[in-house]
Amino acid sequence: MLKGKKVVILGDRDGVPGPAIEECVKSAGGDVVFSVTECFV
């Protein structure tokens, strides 16, 4: 499903941060084109 797709990651400092999601997406063959960890506070 993620394989070959351009993946945008919007992580959350209080939830799942960007780098953790990145590792998962890469393991599924997704191409991470943008990754950020937002802070909603």
């Binding site: 797709k5 945008v8 919007l10 960007g18 953790a20 998962c24 997406v25 950020v36 937002e38």
Partner: protein, 107 residues
């Protein structure tokens, strides 16, 4: 959703084709995650950013919804702890609801 991030998402969708882009969220709360999902599908509901009135219709998922699509060991290491402390059902219901209502490319 941060205005600069909206600009980047718009730019990436235009450059690569919206059908080739997937947005993955890590939001801690259902409402915030839902708002982000709405922004990248139906447009910015606050009409403040570059995605105001722009219906990208992107495929958008919370990382919790992708558990079966990523490496189990990596998921366990990176995500499972937050899965235990956050309200997974509420978050996934909100994000999948937005996706089903507004996404052109996600199921």
């Amino acid at each position: 959703m941060d205005l600069e991030n909206q600009r980047r998402v718009k730019e990436i969708a235009e450059k690569n084709g919206a059908e080739n882009v997937i947005v993955v969220l890590g939001g801690a709360e259902a409402e915030a995650a839902g708002l982000a999902a709405e922004t990248v599908t139906a447009g910015d509901p606050t009409y403040a950013g570059p995605l105001a009135g722009v219906q990208l219709g992107l495929a958008v998922y919370h990382i919790f919804e992708l558990k079966d699509h990523v490496d189990a060991g990596v998921y366990d290491e990176q995500i499972s702890m937050m899965e235990m402390v956050l309200d997974v059902d509420a978050i996934t219901a909100e994000v999948s609801g937005m996706r089903k209502a507004h996404s052109k490319y996600g199921q």
